[in-house]
């Protein structure tokens, strides 16, 4: 199985390393060469230097043979465009897009893009933590 990870920052590099450990053939794409260092000294997967909006870069990274594409650059709008290009132009069935803005994540989810919003996840976790605090004083009052 081939995976393409576009954007090799903190999130992208961790996904690339984990998929690699799970036996995927992984190619990472980033416009900065330093991103390669995030993958460690023993990285045996692919790395393509370039911008994910560039069709030639995507081709070089093997988007046509990829079974999965993870889009996690630091720009929401960049991710939205790359995700749609991977899905609609290259007809990839498994495109996952990281978006920080919950509103845009929801809009593009409705349009059939598989978006993941860490902000929404964080909000849920934080709310749960606050609610857990609330329960305790209430419980204390009833006893």
């Amino acid at each position: 199985m081939n995976a393409l990870v576009i954007g090799c920052g903190r999130v992208g590099s961790s996904i690339a390393l984990q998929l690699d450990r799970e036996g995927w053939e992984v190619t990472a794409v980033d416009e900065k060469e330093e991103a390669l260092t995030r993958l460690g000294d023993h990285w045996s997967g692919g790395f393509v230097l370039g911008h994910g909006m560039d069709i030639e870069v995507l081709r070089e990274a093997g988007i046509e043979e990829a079974d999965a594409v993870v889009v996690a650059t630091d720009g929401d709008n960049t991710n939205i465009v790359i995700g749609q290009v991977a899905q609609q132009r290259f007809d990839n069935q498994c495109v996952v897009v990281r978006l920080l803005d919950p509103a845009r994540a929801e809009f593009y989810r409705q349009r059939g893009l598989r978006t993941v919003c860490p902000t929404s996840v964080a909000i849920e976790v934080l709310l749960d933590a606050v609610r857990a605090c609330e329960i305790r004083p209430a419980e204390a009052a009833t006893t």
Binding site: M53, N77, I80, Q84, D101, A103
Partner: protein, 221 residues
């Protein structure tokens, strides 16, 4: 008419300024950078708002839900212009969306996602240079994407198959037509009886993809 402009750089600011000049239109300009915003606000006052035009709540503050008659996505980032255009058209039903393409290599993304019409300074300049200093025998002057037509210019050379022949005698490809002939600095509308001479500059309208057929009829093969 209400026009929403995203991006207050040179292009967006001048566009908004021009639209506001005749006083007939309502215009809101969205600019993200505070320094630019403050300069623009002194001039355009309440017509400018500060914020990222790809954020839904900023667009809504600018009245996108009304919706505007036209949204012009004119920022310096193609991905931002694409997202603004998609949000405007698909989420808010804006009837007319115009997007700026900064990097001509990104044109394919705009086409893929159905964002049209687009304006591109590079593409415009290239067409102008080709028109003024033609390197090819057939120059693209204007693309009418919605109509699926384009206007091209060709120069009739000495010895070209069309030289000395009348328009009605030409076996023009289906889906193409000659518009006008320019000779010695004067142009006339091409009709059936118009005769083509060497040195004529001919404007033609045709469906994209018919260029080679047109070339064969008018120019050398």
């Amino acid at each position: 008419m209400y026009i929403l402009v995203a991006g207050g750089g040179k292009v967006g600011a001048n566009f908004a300024r021009t639209l506001l000049q005749d006083g007939k239109r309502e215009v809101t300009l969205i600019e993200q950078r505070r320094d630019r915003f403050e300069r623009l606000e002194q001039e355009l006052e309440h017509h400018v708002i500060l914020g990222d035009a790809t954020e839904i709540h900023i667009l809504e503050r600018a009245g996108i839900a009304r919706p505007p008659d036209v949204v012009a996505a004119l920022t310096g980032d193609d991905e931002d212009n694409l997202v603004i255009s998609q949000l405007a058209r698909e989420k808010y039903g804006v009837p007319k969306v115009i997007a700026r393409v900064n990097d001509p290599r990104n044109q394919a993304h705009f086409d893929l996602l159905g964002v049209s019409p687009t304006v591109s300074a590079t593409r415009g300049l290239m067409a102008l240079i080709e028109h003024e200093v033609p390197e090819h025998d057939l120059v693209h002057l204007l693309e009418l994407r919605k109509e699926n037509l384009e206007i091209v210019e060709v120069m009739i050379d000495k010895g070209a198959p069309a030289a000395g022949r009348r328009v009605e005698a030409l076996d023009l490809p289906e889906g193409s037509r000659l518009i006008s002939i320019m000779r010695n600095g004067r142009s006339e509308i091409a009709v059936g009886s118009t005769e083509l001479h060497p040195g004529d500059q001919v404007l033609a309208i045709l469906q994209p993809g018919k260029e080679d057929e047109l070339r064969r009829v008018l120019l050398k093969t």
